[in-house]
Symmetry: C2
Subunit: 142 residues, 2 copies
DNA sequence: AAAATTAGTTGACATTATCAACCAAAATAA
DNA sequence: TTATTTTGGTTGATAATGTCAACTAATTTT
């Protein structure tokens, strides 16, 4: 079997399982909103532009998305001292609760996936995964 | 680092790279159309329902998608002898050419990703990936 | 200081996705 | 067998998601 096939297959399975778990936990948020929330929670000092870049989406869409997340009180915009054009996006307590729920879903899926595998094997797997990823990431020219 | 984090990171990188490669090859097809084409090429005797199930999408959408793929002459509907309600979806030569292009993009990304890793390590990786996937797949009750 | 770039915002519009209602074929139950 | 239910597909209406182009204001480059 090809590497690509294997990875696509695994990703497909993870996607389906996550979908299921998210439904079970009744995280009542549109997929894009949830995804944005997650990215905001991961990226340091996230701004609209960073969010758009990371998600690979048009900034217009991201801007509207942010507006909705703000109006749903899942995030807040904080003035950016370093750049007065932009705002830092921070999860509210409500937003953070949803991310915690999401992490539960994630944990369930990844436990189901890996709990019969030895920690050593998992560690090796993670390590190789990171190498593979770094091969794909654009090299910054020094 | 967590397994989930590692996998999400890798997938994100693969996604971005595939997007880039597909753009370079100027495969001029909407993302969903390309994805459907790929699934049709993978699934044996693919029907609309199978396609909808696999993609996890509404059958209405899939139905319209199929209509467009047919009108673009990328696939053909063949009468299903086993079930006269449905049709088998087959790639046309034109559709097959696009899939071949897609495979080139895929190959480029996965070479870039893995060509500094020994084949043995890749094989181990693929094997574990398959185990992880099978842990997630719904067990058929025998 | 002038010009170019960047972050964000908005309007118009295209694509993607879902729901509900419907028909006909097929599977199941009576 | 006939009646009922389920399944695969189709359509209309509409919602969610995504893109392009134009614009403003802050920042950076020249």
């Amino acid at each position: 079997m090809e590497l690509s096939e294997a990875i696509f297959g695994l990703v497909h399975a993870v996607r389906n399982n996550m979908k299921q778990e998210i439904k079970l936990l009744s995280i009542d948020l549109a997929p894009m909103h949830l995804k944005s929330l997650k990215v905001i929670s991961i990226i340091d000092n996230c701004t609209g532009q960073k969010l758009a870049d990371f998600m690979g989406r048009d900034k217009a869409q991201i801007n509207r998305l942010i507006k909705e997340l703000v109006s749903q009180e899942l995030i807040t915009k904080i003035d950016n001292e370093n750049d007065k054009r932009s705002h830092l996006l921070k999860l509210s307590i409500k937003g953070d609760k949803i991310i915690e729920l999401f992490k539960i879903a994630e944990k369930r899926v990844f436990n189901k996936m890996a709990n019969d595998i030895s920690p050593e094997k998992i560690d090796d797997f993670i390590q190789l995964t990171q190498i593979l990823q770094s091969n794909l990431n654009p090299k910054s020219i020094e």
